[in-house]
């Protein structure tokens, strides 16, 4: 029966089969195609394995650090410890002292420890963050260590630098206030001080009336009160960002009440005895003046464990020939002196200016200035002691300038900055005004800007800041004296009597001893000596004119000639008249230029 039926409708059945099979195929294939479209994704491979280097930082990264963020003291310590672990031949890591609250002040010493005697290489000392709120100096210094380690052996310039120089890198010399700035509620300006309790208001109590984070948002912002007799109003276009003065004939809207806080000690004043209350950058021994002349100086120079630690460290390393200390803000390359009439020799001023002119090119929008002349008078500043007290050519960079917001030669106006916050930062950095019931003022409003706005760069500009500033200090370091024994010329006067001319050359800009160093006998003189088993030196002296053969003979000890200095891009010639035979050794011993020796045989 089935057969009859099949035979009878054969053609129809075929048509149906073709139709349904086709339908099935079309539908299922379509569904599959759709499904495939929905589920298609790239493999989640590690982007690092497929990344390619941009120029600048090294491709290989033994220590991974996000350089668009900030790190507290423990974080900073972590970076240094990992660097030290990854680069044991390039680094030493130690504490140079402890802060008031017992935090270690870490120093990472970077040089190729396998090449030469590290302690006798010209040294560059760099620190940051002496003012607790000026945090990014710490990142610049840590970045410098990170960069040098990773680029050693890869870039010729870095390799040569670490072979002949040593870097003493101290990211923060105020670790207490650094941590405090990150962890406690603070504003961009506060936490500049160190954290030794101080009686700012002279009432016998210390640090008893600090700011208070009244609204508990983790930031110290501003307080304002609605007041018809106040002279402020919100900016019409940027009410959250800017408070502006009302016109003289306009009725007021607000009075400003200062930073967030209450009268903790009941003396009728608010926030008048905050944590700390001094300025460690006024606590240095050279041109120091007491508190009544220079705010923040403390009772005597180096009274603070932090500044004392740095001073003792520098005094114990006479090879330090250059130094830098980071501050914020303003985009400035600062040099001394800190006060009008402060000491600065003409030749040292010239060297500083030449180096900072390179800096101005490396650092767009940065200006090179002398502190007293263009900024303000500073007594007892760090760089004054480094230069004035120790004869070390030193700069202080004021990191970050608002000119960098729009890359303009002039600083943007308040309104332009408000626009940057609104259109570039999408409002990040602002804390809207909110009402608060204040125990003294009653109903007030609290709000304003986050501490990260104003003195430190936003994330996407930070890395540039780190690299460019480091580049400037590497140039400065490279200008430290590079001594070579250029030539030892032996002239036979008669049998067993020789005139030996030793030419020592300084292939860099900075002299072995600066003008300040020579004037005040800070470092020992450079000593050129001749020794040989069968040789006796009869006379010696510095050659003052090589063509007319003028020589300044030493009075005694002819085997040991003291040179005041070997100038930048200059040479010194020493003459020895010696009798004897065999080989002799010339040694050049310079505190900041290192030790050179060369053996030669008498003809």
């Amino acid at each position: 029966m089935w057969k009859v039926f099949i035979m009878k409708h054969r053609s129809k059945i075929r048509t149906y089969i073709v139709f349904f099979v086709s339908l099935y195929l079309v539908v299922t294939l379509n569904v599959k195609a759709d499904a495939q479209k929905v589920n298609r994704k790239p493999k989640a491979s590690n982007p690092a394995d497929h990344s390619f280097p941009a120029l600048g930082a090294s491709d290989e990264r033994k220590v991974e650090v996000a350089w668009n963020r900030f790190y507290d003291h423990a974080g900073m310590g972590g970076i240094l410890a990992r660097l030290h672990k990854a680069f044991p031949e390039l680094t030493r890591l130690y504490s140079i002292g402890k802060s008031v609250q017992g935090r270690d002040i870490w120093c990472i010493e970077v040089t190729s420890h396998n090449v030469g005697d590290s302690d006798r290489k010209p040294g560059m000392y760099i620190d940051g963050n002496i003012h607790g709120n000026e945090v990014q100096g710490g990142e610049v210094v840590a970045y410098t260590a990170w960069y040098l380690c990773h680029q050693y052996g890869r870039l010729e310039k870095v390799t040569a630098l670490l072979d002949r120089c040593v870097f003493y890198l101290v990211p923060t010399i105020n670790p207490d206030a650094r941590d405090f700035w990150f962890h406690a509620a603070y504003s961009s300006r506060s936490s500049r001080t160190g954290l030794e309790p101080t009686d700012d208001d002279r009432d016998g109590l210390m640090d008893e009336d600090d700011y208070d984070d009244l609204d508990g948002d983790g930031v110290i912002t501003q307080m304002r009160i609605k007041d018809l007799f106040g002279r402020y109003k919100p900016h019409p276009n940027y009410p959250d960002y800017l408070m502006v003065r009302v016109n003289p004939d306009e009725r007021g809207q607000y009075s400003l009440l200062g930073g967030e806080g209450i009268d903790n000690d009941g003396d009728g004043r608010i926030n008048e005895d905050r944590r700390g209350g001094y300025d460690m950058n006024r606590n240095w021994a050279f041109d120091w003046q007491p508190n009544y002349v220079q705010y923040g100086a403390k009772e005597y120079p180096f009274s603070q464990p932090e500044t004392r630690a740095v001073a003792d460290f520098v005094l114990s390393r006479p090879n330090i020939a250059a130094a830098h200390s980071y501050h914020n803000s303003g985009g400035l390359i600062l040099r001394g002196p800190g006060r009008e009439g402060g000491e600065m020799s003409e030749q040292d001023e010239r060297a500083l200016r030449l180096i900072s002119e390179r800096g101005e090119k490396i650092l767009p929008y940065y200006r090179s200035i002398a502190i007293w002349d263009d900024l303000y008078t500073v007594w007892g500043g760090e760089l004054d002691w480094f230069y004035g007290g120790r004869g070390i050519l030193t700069f202080s960079n004021e990191l970050w300038t608002s000119k960098n917001l729009y890359k303009t030669p002039d600083a943007p106006s308040d309104e332009q900055q408000a626009e940057f916050v609104e259109y570039v930062l999408m409002g990040d950095g602002l804390i809207p005004w909110r009402e608060y019931d204040h125990p003294t003022y009653g109903k007030i409003e609290i709000g304003g800007r986050r501490k990260e706005w104003g003195r430190i760069p936003p994330s996407f500009l930070l890395e540039e800041e780190l690299h460019r500033n480091m580049a400037f200090t590497l140039y400065h370091a490279d200008m430290m004296p590079l001594l070579k024994i250029h030539e030892i010329a032996v002239e036979k006067l008669e049998e067993n009597l020789y005139k030996i001319w030793v030419t020592i050359e300084n292939q860099r800009l900075i002299p072995t001893r600066t003008g300040q160093d020579i004037t005040h006998h800070i470092s020992p003189p450079d000593i050129v000596s001749l020794k040989g088993n069968d040789i006796k030196v009869l006379s010696a002296g510095r050659v003052t004119d090589k063509y007319f053969k003028r020589v300044q003979p030493v009075k005694r000890r002819p085997e040991r000639v003291e040179l005041n200095s070997i100038g930048g891009m200059d040479s010194a010639i020493v003459q020895f008249v010696a009798e004897g035979k065999g080989s002799f050794t010339i040694t050049v011993d310079s505190a900041k230029g290192g030790v050179l020796t060369k053996n030669q045989l008498l003809p």
């Binding site: 002279r202 120091w288 009772e299 009274s303 800070i522």
Partner: protein, 589 residues
């Protein structure tokens, strides 16, 4: 000839030191004032403290490079908390290592006070209301050179310093060439020298004056050889830093004895910290080379706040003037002599940067000794010469005018020594010197310490005069008090209160410089009453400076306190002490 460096010689002589100490200890029943070496000083201080542990405490504030301790003695009755609040004085000696007299004065004064505490009710009362800090010797290492051979005078510690800037440390110190146990002087007959013999007294030398046609014939050096062959003699010996050049005011950066920076040494730092931790110290007396008591010091008006003061504020001058007068009378001087100022002294720091009355005394000097002898003679003469001839005197004066005045003071001093302590000047004697073969080299001149400390037989008298001065000075501190409290009931539990605060001491509650430097905090009146009760006035009131000798200020309050019967209050002064008082609130008018 022995060329051993001094430091190496110290150890063998140690036993000598101990023997001397033991000998002096045995003889000391009624102990005459003397010079103390480290061990005897320590023993002595400890025994003082043992006499009355409730009155005297001995502690150490620092350790020297050679591991000697720096002692501080605190005298005062009562608990530590109270003692720290009282008006107080600091006596500091031996800050310059060669000052032995100051140490003896300090110790002697302590002895005297402890004795008088039991016998003299005025001193008893004083020590119950005043705290005395005495640091008898800040630089024990240097002072020890007096007690060992060769005796060598230095005011500095043993910190290695490259004094001649040749890259070598302490490589050319002095030697005792004639082995007399003293490092003295050396004069070498040498045409390259700058000196001639004083024609009046050949024992003294004079700088040759080529304008007078004088040709130098002598070198004048300290005793020793040129160890490092640089044609300088003893130019880079052991040490060091003079602690009394190491303080921040008028600090001389790069001076060879000033230290590598201000407050660089363990002892100077300990001293600085000590005075910061004891802000109640109102008067400081420092014995050393500097002196501001022989003559009233220079003064000037207070300049702009941003400019450092370089002279004593004229508003403070009166106190210095009075102290100088008392001082000169105490030591037996009837006229002003010249002051001595030095850079970087502790004393100047305490006035110019810390705002305290800071007196500096050079406890003895030949010039003062000469002057005291002279005035004693003049007194006698005046008695005899009342009918003398005036022409004779005039003639004498004219003659003196023509005479060469150079070395005049030196000759007078040497004459004084001839009469009073002939052993102070060692007779010049020729020796053979390896650096000057065939030349006449003589060793002699003033013995170490003889120009800075009185001869042994005079120590007691000098010390006695100074201790009298110290006892006068402690009675010149400021002292806060409550003169009276006036309460008026205005009705309904509202009161008008006036508190009269007085200063019964001598000094004001703060010198002008204390206000300029802001280091002397204002006096505070603190009421034990909550803020809401004040209709006028505040819980804490800062008072203006209260002058001494009965000066007074008043604080006035309007208070609403219907449920209170009394209000306690406290007056806190940094230098003038603290007092407590009570306001009785009576409703009757």
């Amino acid at each position: 000839m022995s060329l051993t460096i001094i430091q190496l010689k110290m150890k063998p002589y140690w036993f000598l030191l101990v023997t001397i100490t033991l000998l002096t200890m045995q003889t000391g029943i009624a102990r005459p004032a003397t010079y103390y070496d480290y061990k005897s000083l320590r023993k002595h201080l400890v025994s003082l403290a043992k006499q009355d542990p409730n009155l005297v405490r001995v502690d150490s504030i620092a350790q020297s490079i050679d591991k000697r301790k720096v002692w501080v003695v605190e005298v005062g009755k009562g608990a530590e908390d109270n003692r720290k609040k009282r008006p107080s004085i600091l006596v500091l000696a031996g800050i310059e290592g060669n000052d032995l007299t100051g140490s003896s004065i300090a110790v002697s004064w302590l002895e005297q006070l402890i004795k008088q505490f039991r016998t003299d009710h005025k001193i008893t009362e004083l020590l119950e209301t005043t705290t005395i800090y005495v640091i008898p010797r800040l630089n024990p290492d240097a002072a020890e050179h007096f007690f060992i051979e060769p005796k060598f005078e230095t005011s500095a510690n043993n910190k290695p310093v490259d004094a001649d800037h040749d890259g070598l440390m302490d490589e050319d110190g002095p030697e005792d060439l004639n082995e007399d146990g003293l490092i003295t002087w050396m004069r070498v007959e040498d045409k390259e020298g700058d000196y001639i013999l004083d024609p009046v007294d050949k024992r003294l030398l004079l700088k040759a004056d080529n304008l007078k046609g004088e040709v130098g014939a002598w070198r004048y050096l300290s005793e020793g050889i040129d160890n490092d062959h640089d044609e300088e003699w003893n130019e880079d010996g052991l040490g060091g830093v003079n602690f009394n050049r190491n303080f921040p005011y008028n600090y001389e950066f790069f001076a060879s004895d000033a230290g590598v920076h201000q407050v660089s040494e363990a002892q100077t730092r300990a001293l600085a910290e000590f005075v910061i931790e004891h802000p109640n110290i109102g008067i400081i007396i420092t014995y050393g080379a500097a002196d501001n008591l022989l003559k009233t010091p220079e003064s000037a008006p207070d300049p702009d706040r941003r400019k450092p003061m370089i002279s004593i504020d004229e508003k403070d001058l009166g106190y210095y003037k009075v102290m100088g007068e008392i001082y000169r009378e105490a030591i037996g001087l009837n006229k002003e002599l010249e002051n001595t100022s030095c850079p970087g002294t502790f004393s100047d720091w305490m006035y110019f940067h810390r705002g305290r009355l800071s007196l500096a005394s050079r406890p003895w000097s030949p010039s003062v000794a000469v002057e005291i002898s002279k005035s004693a003679e003049e007194e006698e003469k005046d008695e005899q010469e009342k009918t003398g001839d005036n022409d004779e005197k005039k003639k004498n004066a004219d003659y003196k005018k023509d005479k060469d005045k150079r070395n005049e003071n030196e000759r007078k001093e040497l004459k004084w020594f001839d009469e009073h302590a002939p052993r102070a000047f060692i007779k010049w004697q020729s020796i053979e010197h390896p650096d000057f073969p065939g030349r006449n080299v003589e060793i002699g001149g003033y013995a170490p310490y003889s120009l800075t400390n009185p001869p042994a037989n005079m120590v007691e008298e000098v010390v006695g005069r100074h201790t009298d001065f110290l006892t006068t000075v402690i009675q010149r501190l400021p002292r806060i008090g409550i003169r009276r409290v006036e309460t008026k009931h205005l009705g309904q539990g509202t009161y008008d209160i006036e508190i009269h605060v007085e200063n019964t001491g001598f000094l004001p509650t703060s010198l002008a410089q204390g206000q300029t430097t802001r280091e002397v905090y204002p006096t505070r009146l603190v009421m034990d009453l909550d803020d809401e009760h004040f209709l006028s006035g505040t819980r804490i009131t800062t008072l203006p400076v209260i002058p001494g000798s009965g000066g007074m200020v008043e604080a006035r309050y309007i208070i609403y306190a219907p449920n209170r019967k009394k209000i306690d209050f406290e007056i806190i002064s940094m230098l003038a002490g603290q007092v407590e008082g009570t306001i009785n609130l009576e409703k009757s008018r």
